[in-house]
Amino acid sequence: MKILVTAKRVVDYNVNIRVLADQSGVDLNNVKMSVNPFDEIAIEEAVRLKEAGKAEEVIVVSVGVSQCQEQLRTALALGADRGILVETDEALQPLGIAKALKAVIDKEAPGLIITGKQAIDGDNSQTGQMLAALAGLAQATFASEIDLGEDSATVTREIDGGLETITVKLPAIVTTDLRLNEPRYASLPNIMKAKKKPIDIFTPADLGVDVSPRVKTLKVEPPAERAAGIKVESVEVLVDKLRNEAKVIS
């Protein structure tokens, strides 16, 4: 079986995000970019399934700018066999990405598709679900355990207040939660070998899909800074302030 996994290029989780002065977006200039951590978990899971003999090939896909090849190389160093870049300079939104991924699924016919449950840039948590709808495949989101069988997968999902275990028919879309696994560090020899693994590049037009944005970003603002707290003299003053300044009680 082939497993398809995703590797979105996002700002590294250690970076302090800064909003551009014109409020059109966040500053990506000279900022360290990495593989979306949830995608790293997806890659790790696929590589483990391959190591356990349950899959023959792991294909990693990224949708975005040419530099996404860096993230594909990271995935190849972690153990994926080959990469596919759907190259576009469009502002990417979940629907556009899902359409591109659907086209790759049509080409590759994987038995299992694993994506992150969300990317740490937009935190949308939509791509996996939209992909399942577009491809007409079963979905198991927020996975914390995957038991892969011949024609089905049993997936434990993290849901509000507990865990849910479901069985889905293959091919299926699984999205990863944090506790699915702990990704390895790529070994240095594998980082060097990754350079020799193939990456195929397509444009959305090659795949016959339109990834142009459907949602317009009006303005991006940083979260409001927390103001310093104050000490109050008495309970009466506190209640007064809660009622008349903060207006959280009446």
Partner: protein, 383 residues
């Protein structure tokens, strides 16, 4: 082979993450236990760290000097003891073989050193032969097809868990100096090899050091490094040339770590109603540290580049080691000062680095020995 910049960056990013996420949280535990957790050593092996400088043909990564220095600098961002675990396999414990070993010797040892299955140590120093390394008293006397080795080696890094010793011994008793010394590859399990009790040291807890004692140790002639007698000291000097650049690069890394810690602390810490970073006297300490670190970094990069280009860099490497190791000593001292009382207290880890970096000015040639190397080169050039 030089790596392309993308691949090198990936390698450094991965190691930076390993240092930040795995090693830094274990700094104080490793110091307290005087031992690196075994699972961390295994992770280092899996990462390929033991084979950084072993040629690709023997299963290593074959990094050149610039790449090795860049990696060493990353590992300077945490306790130097961690680096020491694979440091001998990258440096003094393997390079004699890489540089001057016979093909059979390389085939036999290097692939296992690259994976960390074999840990190598470098046995040059002796109780009576430290800075004057050419005066080694350990003897290797020909006996039929074998050699019989006798002597004591002092302060040998990683000896407590090493499998292979590169031993420098006198094969020609009629020559007192460098020209009578040969190098031998001695397995730890060879009868007659024994270890002293690990020393308790000023710093770098977790990087073990002990004496290695050789009593009538019989080694076959094929264990003579490179198959040639009386050229061992030349091998040792080639190895140390490279090692000096490596230590210079770690010194730069530790300085960067301390500068970052001290600057962040100075921004947070308030006295007289303002961050101490606002005081110009504190700023002077920060700025001097930053400037000296940058100077050392440039020296290391330039010398590494010239070495990779095939130049003889003996005196330049000595300049790097002299400046970089003295520099990190000053930076560590200022870091303690900027932390004030906290700098002297164990919990903050600053005093630990202060003790750790003291070693860099002593081993692989003291600062005074570097000065004599530099001056001798100058005198040779101008006379």
């Amino acid at each position: 082979m030089a790596l392309d910049s993308d691949t090198l960056q990936q390698l450094l990013d991965t190691l930076t993450r390993f240092v930040n996420e795995r090693l830094r949280p274990l700094e104080s535990k490793t110091a307290a236990d005087d031992r690196i957790p075994q699972e961390v050593v295994e992770e280092m092996k899996a990462l390929g760290l033991f084979g950084l400088t072993i040629p690709e043909a023997y299963g290593g990564l074959g990094l050149n000097m610039q790449e090795e220095a860049a990696v060493a600098r990353v590992f300077g961002r945490t306790s130097p003891a961690f680096r020491s675990a694979f440091g001998t396999n990258v440096g003094i414990g393997s390079q004699s073989l890489v540089i001057d070993g016979t093909e059979d010797q390389k085939q036999f040892y290097l692939p296992k050193m690259a994976t960390g299955e074999i840990v190598g140590s470098f046995c040059l120093s002796e109780p009576e032969a430290g800075s004057d390394a050419a005066s080694v008293r350990t003897t290797a006397v020909k006996d039929g097809d074998d050699y019989l080795i006798n002597g004591t080696k002092r302060y040998i890094t990683n000896a407590p868990w090493a499998d292979l010793f590169t031993v420098f011994a006198r094969t020609d008793a009629s020559v007192k100096g460098a020209r009578g010394v040969s190098a031998f590859l001695v397995d730890r399990k060879t009868p007659g090899v024994s270890l002293g009790v690990p020393y308790r040291k000023m710093g770098q807890q977790g990087a073990p050091v002990c004496d290695v004692i050789f009593e009538d140790v019989r080694v076959p002639a094929e264990k003579l490094l490179g198959g040639a007698e009386n050229v061992g000291f030349i091998t040792a000097m080639k190895v140390l040339d490279k090692g000096r650049l490596h230590i210079s690069a770690i010194s730069v890394g530790v300085a960067e770590r301390l500068i970052e810690d001290a600057t962040k602390y100075a921004i947070e810490r308030k006295q007289f109603n303002q961050p101490i970073a606002e005081f110009q006297l504190v700023q002077a300490m920060l700025a001097d540290s930053q400037t000296e670190m940058y100077a050392a970094a440039c020296m290391v990069e330039e010398t590494a580049r010239r070495r990779d280009a095939g130049e003889a860099v003996n005196a330049l490497a000595a300049s790097c080691k002299l400046f970089a190791t003295e520099m990190v000593g000053r930076v560590a001292d200022r870091a303690v000062q900027i932390f004030g009382g906290a700098g002297y207290i164990e919990d903050y880890g600053i005093e630990r680095f202060y003790r750790d970096v003291r070693l860099f000015r002593i081993y692989e040639g003291t600062s005074q020995i570097q000065q004599t190397v530099i001056a001798k080169d100058m005198i040779k050039r101008f006379s």
